[in-house]
């Protein structure tokens, strides 16, 4: 019995595992909150686009000897703004414009990287280095997590109204432009500060999956936020834990868990909808 307990608690004995647990949990909360707004706003791919676009910013920041986070943030926001501008002034739809902008910026970053030897490697941006994270990483992620949560506490309701009914938001005098760019900025900041620790692939997943699972399950926004945070934290925690025994990388393990949960939710909700339709056939 004791031996079993020891085996099961083994991951918690290692310093690098403890740090990994802390970082993913710290990141799981803000990204889950953001994912709810992104899924409802139709901005799910915005996280994808911004995280790809930061690459040239990182390289150029290295060249100018300024902190990489500044370069990455500027590049990420430029992607969002460029997308908005081109969409306003052309007949193209937003997803097309976004695709063009972020693939161009990612490619630019890749080309720059071959010419400039920076201290950031592509592997690290893509996959992160969760098990090799430092105390500095934890402080950064904790900072951004706190910022996002504070922002949501203060402006969450305004954001919700902005996403749900922009016209009403405008009619009662809410600063919709500010909310628009605040949401983009806070999204970019989250991406920038989590990229080095957990990698682009996990960030993108964390910014879509919890919100979409919660969307399938919930009737009200308050519940959606709670379910998203629950999904995000439990998958992140379990993912890191299981990866220890599977000897796999934590990030993809977390994503696989969320995908599994999504499939189960999808099947369960569609079944439920069907059975409701069968019960009351005449409610148009």
């Amino acid at each position: 019995m004791l031996a079993l307990f020891e085996l099961l608690s083994e991951p918690f004995y290692f310093g690098f595992m403890q740090q990994a647990f802390i970082i993913v949990l710290l990141l799981a909360i803000p990204s889950a909150l953001l994912s709810c707004f992104l899924v409802l706003k139709g901005w799910s791919l915005m996280g994808d686009a911004i995280s790809h676009s930061v690459l040239p910013g990182i390289v150029i920041a290295y060249l100018l000897a300024i902190p990489y986070a500044i370069g990455a943030f500027v590049a990420g926001i430029s992607c969002a703004i460029a997308t908005g501008y081109i969409k306003e002034n052309s007949r193209l739809k937003e997803d097309t414009v976004m695709g063009i902008v972020f693939s161009s910026m990612f490619a630019l970053g890749l080309v720059l990287m071959t010419k400039i030897e920076s201290d950031v490697h592509l592997d690290q941006i893509l996959f992160g280095d969760l098990l090799g994270s430092s105390g500095q990483d934890i402080i950064e992620v904790a900072g951004i997590s706190l910022l996002v949560v504070l922002f949501m506490v203060c402006k969450g309701k305004d954001l919700l109204l902005f996403v749900f009914d922009k016209q009403h938001a405008q009619a009662i005098g809410l600063p919709v432009r500010f909310l628009h760019y605040a949401l983009l900025s806070i999204l970019s900041l989250t991406i920038v500060f989590s990229l080095k620790a957990v990698g682009m692939i996990l960030v993108i997943a964390l910014l879509i999956a919890p919100g979409s699972i919660a969307f399938l399950l919930c009737n009200s926004f308050a519940n959606m936020l709670k379910v998203a945070v629950l999904v995000s934290c439990s998958c992140s925690f379990l993912g890191v834990y299981i990866s220890f025994y599977l000897d796999s990388a934590p990030a993809p393990t977390i994503i696989m868990l969320m995908s599994l949960l999504f499939i189960i939710t999808f099947i369960q909700t569609t079944q439920r909808a069907k059975s409701i339709n069968l019960d009351v056939p005449d409610t148009q």
């Binding site: 109204l161 009914d165 405008q170 809410l174 959606m224």
Partner: protein, 286 residues
Amino acid sequence: MKTGLIVNNVSVTYRNGFNALQNASFKLPIGSITALVGINGSGKSTLFKSIMGFVTLSQGNVEILGYPVKQALKKNLVAYVPQSEDIDWNFPILVEDVIMMGRYGHMNFLRRSNKKDHQMVELALQRVNMQDYRKRQIGELSGGQKKRIFLARALAQDSEVILLDEPFTGVDVQTEDQIMALLRELRDEGKVILVSTHNLGSVPEFCDRTVLINRTILAAGETKTVFTQDNLQQAFGGVLRHFVLAGDTLHEDDDTRQVTLLSDHERPVVLYGNEKAETITQAGSL
């Protein structure tokens, strides 16, 4: 007449060069219901947008209870009831949450609701007769109920000017009557109500005033002087369905009076009298 809303020589040109509205001017008094009537693309939405400050005016200005638009919005003077198509009905939000959104302008910056807010929401639910649906997700409602909750949101907002965008499309007769009764109550409470509608038949019935629009204001004033066959035909051109039931199809004596039916695509307007006898030959669509 105490003036509630003044639209003064407003022109709006969109970025692609389209002149959506030119030199539009009219005034609406406090305690009135006004119908905004015009074909699709006549600038009805643009006019709404300029009253709410969503578009930049290339000329002119709008005054709401004596305040410029921006200040009026800050003071929570304007409520907007959107078209059903503008709302994402899958959105995970409950009926009572939507109505509470009407109270946001009255709350502090954290949007914490207090007792008064809950009372206003309760009252609004009662006035549109939707108390039993407060915990429903908005997508579970019928077409008429969907209209009513957004009307309830405007009630909860307690604003002075209420703009309704096509409130009668896709609504059953019963809901239509309910909405009209409610709007009459609001008028008697001194609100300024502007309703864009295709429903020509109900205009003379419940709108005190009419504004006819086609890229500019064709006529504005009391319904009985503005809502004439000539004006309507000018506003709608050829797109109005027009039927004339005249003397010989109506009765066998030599009474020359005729019944005229004008309809956009909802309830027709029925005119009866001696005028415009020459249109008999065009009976059918104009």
